[in-house]
Every structure is written in C-alpha cells, then in structure tokens.
C-alpha cells in the first residue's frame, strides 16, 4: 500500500504532539492499522509544517533532498555566505590579525577612495587591460571558431593546436613569456630587429609592460575554452536557416550578420560576461612576471588587494577593497545582462 497518499490534517494546530522525531514512521505505522478518516484528522507534525509538506511522501522527499543537499548547504554557509557577511563587517574595522578588530565605520572606504594613491590607478589599469583583452579575446575566439567551422579537413588538428596554449598554467605562462620577451636575447626582439624594428624593453619598459601582458593573455585566451564554446554554438545553428538565406540571395556577410550572429548571441553573452569577470581578476600573470612593475605599470587591482591583505596584513582595509571590487564586478555583470535584452536572441523561447 502506498503510504504517501494519506493527508495530514492542516486545520489543527501543531506542537506538543510527541511525534517530534520520527513523524514519518509514526504516521506510516498508524496508516496501516487505522482507517483513512482518522489518519487525516491527526495533527500535522511540526517538522512537516516547517518543511511545508502535506503528505508523508512529500516529507520523505524533503528529508532525503535536504540530506543530499547538506554538504552544499553547509558549504554555502561556511565558505560563501558567512565569509561575505564577515568581510562586510571586517571592512568596517581596522584589523591587523594580531589584535582584535576595531570598528572604524567607513574609514576604510574613505581611505580607499580618497587617500590611497594606488587604488584608483590600479583600478583604471585593470579596466584598460580588460577593455583591450575582452573585445579582442571574444571577437578573436569567434573568428577562429568561424575559421574552423567551415568543415575543412584536419580541422580537429588545428583546433587542438590552437587550444594547447590555453592549458598552460598561468605561472608557466608568465615564466616562459618572460624569456620570450627578453629584451636582448629573446626571440621576439630578435625577430623585430630582423625586420628593422627597434625591440622594446617589454617588461622592463613602463610603456610596453601592459601591452606585453595583454599579448600573453590573448595567447592563452584566443584558442581556449571560448573558441570551443563558440564552435559548439556555431554547430548548433540549423542548416535550414542558411539554406533559406541562400534562396534569398544572401551573401556571406548577410548570413553572418542576420543568421549566425543572432543565433549564437546567447553564447556571445556568456563568453562576454565570463571574459569580463576573468579579466578584471587578473593577478597571477602580473604577480609572477613583473610583480606589478616596472614603476607599477602592471599594478592591477587584485595585486593591490593581495599586497594590502597578505603582505601588510591589513585585513580590514583588504576586506573593504574586496567588497568594492565585488560591487563593481556585480554591477558590470548586471549591466551586461540588462543590455543583453537589446541584442540577445533566444531562439528556443
């Protein structure tokens, strides 16, 4: 007999029924021996009420579900929500990790906005970096995907060759490019000199350090996951649409602008959002390759945050910087979602 079909009574108040722990079991037992009418008059146990369950079946499902979800429920509290709130509190304190946190109100934010001479420049630099890397990265990945999606032979070989650089760990990326960029001995400057150009100092030049960083990032980005995602998006565009466009005499550009682009616009949005978040967080490359130099030419926001927090141990101020950063990232993401209503086309919906 299916026990779950008996309903708890909802009209009677709960509490003090003595069925606290094993309500499921108790109802189940009684359901076997007692007629249905009586069962429905029973009080709904408090647990069922808290979990908004009407039947034993629902209660069981709830309990199993919550048990399975419990690692994440704990994780969400311990490693995400708790820390978010804790860092909000810390951002209002002065805390050097040794003594107890001392509440100073908005002092850290005031310091960040008006007194820290490195904060705004580092943010501006991070934006300059992101605003170069993201458009080139996304458009370049799309171009590579289009190139590979023409159905020529050996495409998968080319795809693999383009993809491999993106698997390089950031540390190795920074180290091997430092060697490539070597002003005197590096092959890049050697090549530039061979074609009659003066080789810049790259990481030792305040003008060229940021562009050098951008080139490294693009090398690890262009053939990477975004290209694969675009490739899958392109393969999902129905052939009928192209056939119809051909009948109408559309040329390549028309087909791209009026069929391909709208159809892959959700993918484009995904890549843009992920790309912006990733680019704003740039840290390892700069930390390993230049330590933020020369003369802070690659001193990015995350580097500033790291230095304040884990070199100077100013936990309170670091938390304020982190909160401000999170605020900016979330704002930009929401703005992109908002803007996407204008240009993203969801074919399925």
């Amino acid at each position: 007999m299916e026990r779950g079909c008996y309903r708890f009574s909802t009209s009677l108040p709960s509490g003090q029924t003595g069925q606290r722990d094993c309500c499921g079991e108790e109802i189940a037992l009684s359901s076997m021996s007692v007629p249905e009418v009586i069962v429905t008059r029973r009080r709904r146990p408090w647990l069922a009420k808290v979990l908004r369950c009407n039947t034993v079946k629902e209660l069981r499902e709830s309990l199993w579900g919550m048990a399975f979800a419990s690692p994440w429920l704990l994780g969400l509290c311990i490693f995400v929500m708790g820390p978010i709130l804790a860092s909000l509190y810390l951002s209002l304190t002065r805390y050097d990790i040794v003594s107890t946190p001392e509440l100073i109100g908005l002092g850290n934010y005031r310091r960040a906005f008006f007194e820290d001479s490195l904060m705004w420049p580092s943010l501006g630099r991070t934006f300059r970096y992101a605003m170069t890397v993201v458009p080139i990265g996304v458009a370049g990945s799309l171009t590579l995907a289009l190139l590979l999606n023409q159905g020529y032979r050996f495409t998968s070989l080319y795809r693999t060759l383009y993809f491999l650089p993106s698997l390089t760990p950031s540390v190795a990326l920074a180290l091997l490019w430092t060697w490539l960029y070597h002003p005197q001995l590096g092959p890049i400057n050697y090549g530039l000199r061979a074609i009659g150009l003066p080789g810049p100092g790259w990481f030792s030049s305040t003008t060229w350090a940021l562009p050098a960083m951008i080139i490294i990032s693009l090398w690890g980005w262009l053939g990477g996951t975004q290209m694969l995602i675009f490739l899958a998006g392109l393969q999902g565009v129905p052939q009928e649409l192209y056939d119809a466009a051909n009948v109408d005499g559309a040329n390549r550009w028309h087909k791209f602008a009026h069929v391909t682009l709208p159809m892959i616009s959700p993918t484009l949005l995904f890549n843009l959002i992920m790309g912006v978040i990733g680019a704003l967080k740039v840290f390892t490359l700069a930390y390993v390759a230049t330590s933020g130099g020369p003369a802070r030419a690659t001193w990015f926001y995350a580097l500033h945050l790291y230095t304040v927090t884990f070199q100077y141990y100013e936990m309170g101020y670091g938390a304020a910087l982190a909160w401000f950063f999170a605020f900016i990232v979330i704002l930009i993401t929401l703005f992109q979602f908002r803007l996407s209503r204008q240009w993203v086309f969801y074919a399925g919906e």
């Binding site: 399975f68 020529y152 540390v171 899958a232």
Partner: protein, 298 residues
C-alpha cells in the same frame, strides 16, 4: 575572415567563378589556419628548445633556434636544484583529494536539486547560481582567517577540504542540468521495486552520468593543478608547495644560487604543464564536451 574569396563575385558566371571562389577560400583558409597554428605553437616550441640547451647556448646572440646537442639532463638537473618531485606529489595529493571531493559532493547536491522537492530549494539554487558571478576575492579574507583559526595554514587542507562541501556552484549546476536530462522513469521503476534514493543515485544515475563526471574531473584536475593564488596564500614552507607555487619559487632561485638557471626553469615549465597536456589528450572527448555543455547551457 579575411580570405580572398569574399571579394569574388559569386553570383555572376556561376559555375566557374563559384568553383574558383571555393578553391581560393580553401587555400586562403588553410594558409591562415597554418600561420595561426605556428603563432600559437611558437612559444612552446621555443620553451622546449630552450629547456634542452646548454647555459652557453641559452645566452648566445643571435638566439639559437634549436639546441646544438639536446641536453635531456637539464630535466634531471631541475630535480636537483629544487624539490620538484616533492612538489609534484603535493600537487597530485591536492588535486586528487579536491577532485574526489567535488565530484562526490556535487553529485549528491545536484541530485537533490534535480530530483527532490524541498522547501527553499529554488531560492537556494538561485543563490547558488548568483555565487558564480561573485568574485572569490570577497570571501578570501574571512576564509583565510577561518583556516588560520583552525590551524590549517601551511598545510594543504585549505586547498582540498572546501571542495568536499558541494564542489562549487559550477559543478553543481552542470551536474543538475545533466541529471534532468535522464528520464525519471528509471528512478520511478526502481522506487516501485523498493530502492531507496541513495541506491538509485549510485546504481542507476551515476552509471548514466559517466561522461559528465569525467568532464568535471578533468576540469577540476586542471583547475587544481594550475591554481596559484590558493597555494600562494596558504602555503609558506617550500616543502608544502604545489607545482605552481614551486615554479614561482624556482623563478626567484637564480639570485640565490648565483648561476643562471633559465634552461632548467624552462624544463620545469615543460614538466609542470606536461601532466595537463597528457590528461587533455587522454580525455579530449570529455573535455571538449564539458566545455561545450557549460557554454551552451550557461
């Protein structure tokens, strides 16, 4: 794409010009694809070359394309300069434990989100998705303080224990989407036979989820192997270092040892990347599949 074929009039004189246009397009595409492949591979080609040169060859000008005589012993020497083997083992330990944890716990949690109704489920799922937008910097400091309180600093615990608490929003999301594509009939048939939910998960769903689990394992492995900021913050003594942090330590070594070690450093870069490349080739199918899933459904 900048190919010559785009400028060709394809509608006029259909057959012949169409054929020429196609041919030109093919030739142009292959040339472009090959040039790009060379650009993409060059840095690694150079690194591999440098890793097998002698010190004298490394500092030669004009730079040598290839080593005169291949110095494989550079790879052995790298192990003598720094405890590379130990770092390898540390990385392997961290990555194995965190991958296992995130796969197991994310499967349980995703199963709950996909198949069970419980009060607050949708709200929590919404929060879970929202945390993907959140930059990890904002949770970093309190986490650090927490691990410090627990006495976990300078151990690898902070790098893998959190993975056992759900494995992160992304894994949960990906697995939940996948479970939802498995017909419920399977579960229901087993339920009627008296199977409990855990049994259904392990015996019915998990066998069907092998590809997506493989994908997540690969992604988690690569993420853990390449992670730099985590080890940088939590590990202090070189004996605890992972390979990524070890490379950074090695980079600063030349000053300490007083002799040029660039060739050994390049060898170290090759060795640090090799496991990832090998894994990629072994699991290429799952890997590509997983990335694609995340992009399309995200």
């Amino acid at each position: 794409m900048a190919t010559d074929a785009q400028t060709m009039p394809t509608r006029a004189r259909r057959t012949t010009s169409l054929r020429t246009a196609k041919l030109l397009n093919a030739v142009g595409s292959y040339v472009l694809m090959t040039v790009l492949a060379i650009i993409f591979m060059f840095p690694w080609f150079w690194t591999m070359g440098s890793s097998m040169k002698t010190v004298a060859e490394i500092y030669k000008y004009p730079p040598l394309m290839l080593p005169g005589q291949i110095q494989f012993n550079n790879y052995v020497d790298a192990f003598e300069v720094v405890p590379f083997g130990l770092w390898f083992l540390n990385s392997l330990r961290v990555v194995t434990l965190s991958t296992l944890g995130s796969i197991i716990s994310a499967t349980l949690v995703a199963y709950s989100f996909a198949r069970f109704n419980w009060a607050g489920r949708d709200v929590i799922f919404g929060i879970t998705l929202a945390t993907m937008m959140l930059p990890s910097e904002v949770t970093l400091i309190p986490q650090y303080l927490l691990f410090r309180e627990l006495g976990w600093l300078n151990t690898i615990k902070p790098l893998w224990i959190p993975a056992w608490f759900g494995g992160g929003a992304y894994s949960i999301f990906l697995l939940r989407q996948f479970i939802r594509t498995i017909p419920r009939d399977f579960d229901e048939a087993a339920t009627i036979d008296g199977a409990n939910p855990l049994y259904i998960l392990v015996m019915i769903l998990v066998p069907n989820m092998k590809p997506v689990l493989a994908t997540l394992s690969v992604l988690s492995f690569i993420g853990g192997w390449n992670d730099f900021m985590g080890p940088l913050i939590y590990l202090a003594s070189p004996r605890q270092f992972t390979i990524a942090l070890g490379l950074r330590y090695f980079q600063q070594a030349p000053g300490q040892y007083g002799r040029p070690l660039e060739h050994l450093l390049m060898a170290a870069c090759v060795m640090a990347t090799a496991p990832i490349i090998i894994l990629f080739f072994l699991a290429q199918r799952y890997f590509v599949q997983g990335i694609v899933m995340s992009g399309i459904k995200g």
